[in-house]
């Protein structure tokens, strides 16, 4: 039996050396390993008839041969540079692949995470506050007394017991100043509520609030911080513009714009020809606010800023109707994988 094994091995080596392409390698395979008539297959079958005393030795020889044939065929197949395997069905690689697809994260959350990251990188701490607020935190402490016309700027939802749904994230400023001592560097991101609904206003939306308080904080620091932030959110060549404006809890107060990200500042329909896009409000913390939380307004100065997260998401993704963000249509959500 062993001599037969040796003979087939030589024969095989000879045959395989002549096989130049994938088809002939396959022919060799069939000749030796074919299920019905393969030479090696037959040897394996014969093994059953071998006398028991010799079976072990013969078995080893045949199995060694089989291993040799298989590995040589594999190597030959690989070297013929062909993937054609006539034994299998053809593979259509234009069919989509298989993967466990994760769900998508809401674009508001994505923008929110981006903003958090930018401020965490700058060493800010993330603060949060309740969505149901008292009049004190939402208005009074922010220098907006009862019957102040500035309350008109923020149509408020009232709850039983004189509570309100916070109209901005600014109450978190007050809570943070009560909890901490300067230096303070914080941002708070969260839901806010205004009694207003149309294509650009949603009764529920999200804001970012930033606050920095320490000795020697200046308006120039506010500018530098906003500039850095806007460039990281949009593009490194974006320019920042601050304009005087009025918010009762800051003085000097400002609104800030960036050069239009659609036209680069030349004027287009998106920026109404102005070359600028309005982003949010900012300013130096009003001394009256420091007085409300018991800070020495002579010793400490600070800046605060706010902006709408929906607005950033809409600008970044070209979304023209804010209501799409709250409809939760999967045809919309699935456009924002990540």
């Amino acid at each position: 039996m062993e001599s037969r094994v040796e003979e087939i091995r030589r024969q095989f080596d000879h045959d395989l050396a002549r096989a130049a392409d994938a088809a002939s390698v396959e022919e060799v395979r069939t000749r030796y390993l074919g299920r019905r008539a393969g030479l090696v297959t037959a040897l394996l079958r014969d093994l059953r008839e071998a006398p028991p005393a010799r079976r072990a030795a013969a078995g080893k020889a045949v199995n060694d041969l089989k291993a040799h044939v298989e590995s040589s065929l594999d190597a030959a197949r690989a070297s013929t540079h062909s993937t054609s395997r006539p034994a299998r069905e053809p593979i259509d690689l234009t069919l989509p692949g298989r993967a466990q697809r994760p769900g998508t994260i809401h674009p508001i959350t994505q923008v929110r995470s981006l903003i958090e990251e930018i401020f965490l990188d700058m060493g800010y701490v993330l603060e949060s506050g309740p969505e149901i607020e008292t009049d004190f935190y939402n208005f009074e402490a922010l220098n907006i007394p009862t019957h102040h016309p500035a309350r008109d700027m923020q149509d408020t939802f009232y709850l039983e017991g004189g509570l309100v749904l916070r109209t901005h994230t600014s109450p978190v400023q007050i809570r943070a100043m009560q909890k901490r001592r300067p230096p303070i560097k914080m941002v708070a991101l969260g839901r806010v509520f205004r009694r207003d609904a149309d294509i650009t206003h949603s009764p529920v939306f999200h804001q970012v609030e930033g606050l920095v308080v320490a000795e020697g904080i200046t308006f120039a620091h506010l500018k530098g911080t906003l500039e850095h932030f806007c460039r990281r959110v949009f593009a490194p060549d974006v320019t920042l513009r601050l304009r005087p404006s009025y918010f009762p809890f800051v003085e000097p107060g400002a609104e800030y714009d960036i050069s239009c990200i659609f036209c680069g500042g030349g004027g287009c329909s998106r920026c109404k020809g102005s070359g600028f896009i309005e982003l949010g409000g900012a300013g130096m913390v009003h001394p009256a606010v420091f007085e409300k939380v018991g800070y020495d307004a002579e010793r400490y100065t600070g800046f605060a800023f706010g902006l709408g997260i929906e607005r950033i998401a809409m600008l970044k993704h070209g979304i023209d109707d804010i209501r799409l963000l709250y409809e939760n249509d999967l045809r919309f959500l699935s456009q924002f994988p990540g």
């Binding site: 769900g103 060493g123 016309p149 609904a197 529920v204 308006f219 709250y326 939760n328 045809r331």
Partner: protein, 684 residues
Amino acid sequence: MRFSQGWLAEYVTIAEEPARVGERLTAAGLPLDGIERLSDDCLYDFDIVTNRPDCMCHLGLSREYAALTDQPLRPPPGTIPPGGRPTQEIASVVIETPDLCARYTARCVLDVRVGPSPDWLRRRLESIGQRSINNVVDATNFVLWELGHPLHPFDLDLLEGRRIVVRRARSGERLRTLDGVDRTLAPEMMVIADAAKPVALAGIMGGETSQITGRTKRVLLESAWFDPVSVRRTARAVGLRTDASHRFERGADPDGAPAALDRAAQLIAQVAGGSITSPALDVYPRPFPRRLIPFRPGRARDLLGFGIEDFVMRQALARLGFDVETGQEPWSVTAPSFRADIEREVDLIEEVARQRGYDAIPAALPVLPNLDEGRAARERTQQAARRAAQAAGLSEAMNYSMSERDDGLRLDPDGPGPVNITNPLQEGAASLRTSLLPGLLRNLAHNLNHGLEAIHLFEIGTTFHRAAPLPVERQRLAFVMSGRGLPTHWSLPPREVDVYDARGAVELLGDQMGVSPLEFSSDRIPFLEEGCALRVTSAGRLLGVVGTIGASLVGAYGVDRPVQGGELDLDALSQACGTVRRYRPLPRYPSVRRDLAIVAPPGTAFAAIDRVIRSAGRLPIADVRVFDLYRGPGVPAGCCSLAVQIVFQHPERTLTAQEVHESVTAITTVLSRELRATLRGAEG
């Protein structure tokens, strides 16, 4: 607010393009909203901020522009020559509420002829969108848009006793205002009355009975200062917002009252004829003090972070009409009477910065120690939960926090009810959500209606719960799944989502967040299908529920197919989360796997089989994995065949085939004894 270029040009020279004018004023805090070019004029639309009522008129805006371009301002003529009949011979004014009305000035114009306005006056008003009414009323409106001070003309002969009384309304008094509405007044409302009755809501709107008509011969003109809070309260109470109330609420100019009075009287005489009474009545029970504000130029530089020179600051303030005494530090600055917004030093610093332009201020980053706290625990939990939900194939939704009152009742009929909004935007959104599921079920219905086949949504957000003394906010995660199960691929047979998808999502969440052990127990949960409802706990703490959402609940949201889902309390989950994961040394010895096909009688839970295997095996078992569940031919009716792989793993040595064999034998013995479960194919 609309401004006409032609009108502005009466008070200041405008030599620039309108666009440049807009830019200048925008940079000074008076943002331009738009420009409309007409053949003979140009209309500006400026957004005037709440605290600048002085700019809500043409002279005011011209004043800002003159200061910015360093030009003189040309205010309109205003002085009335002496020599008329003294006003006090004809009418009288009494202020009963000096706390609410600091100043009241009045003049009469006698022998007027009420009629249409001359063209120039009509055109001026119409250019900014105001309707012309008659010459007398138009003259007062013109002055409102010119000087910014609201005035009111009365028909003197319709004022009982030719007397003006500024007082609080008496309970139940009535007044028909110029808009034709009968209003019942309350004592907190300030009115202008004659000797007998109210004739105007002070600072808001006049009354119909004393209005100027074609028959009016003698006009009594009012120009006063009313308390902002009082005007605002009353305007809100009666639901009126007028050009007058808008200005009084924001603070009128007490010195502007007599100036506006004189200007309007002259205009009336000019356009309607008649003679002006003189001197005017000027009742001023509560004169405004001069406001002296100390100003430190150094403080301005420190706050702005900008080396602006003293003379630039002095000049900026002077151009805006501030009186600046620079003799010693701090400077002594007096704000003009029309600038009610200027109260303290920082307000002056803003004026200086505004005049110079914020563009001039450099940009710098503050150098401060970093606060190394990063995200708070609550945020980290939310982030981890979001990541896990996403990994489970769920897409994030965001819904409003407001909900229907019924939403809460459907989920928790016996609960304390939701927190209610007292002034909802719409009735269907009058309370705050107590669960995130109703919103997601609405989203599900929306997506089904649009033909989507695989709907897997989650939301993380706040729910609100009635409690004393204050409502409680909880952070929750909820999810719903319906339609095709995930993953979907051409190579896989399509299947419907079932309750195991929901349970799997929660298991994944628990694993990823390091909550261990996460326990599931069958329970009756009102809004979940009976038999498909699980309570999720960890170390005895309830974390939430998961299962098949009840058909009647989903039906209430217009969904007619099975929905799987759950809701977890992230605040509770956060407390159950493991802290930092500790590394476990990798096994140094090989594990041994054995597959068993266990035929279990009806009603046998996998949990029971798992328990038996782990306890009866007598060897350390690393895992018990189900890899198939089969019912059908070959398995007795009602029974199922569970294919289970047991992974034996000893920490200190290699297990021998013999001891594993003995362990499996022991397991099968106990399975058979305690659960009457047998090995498939091993019956014989």
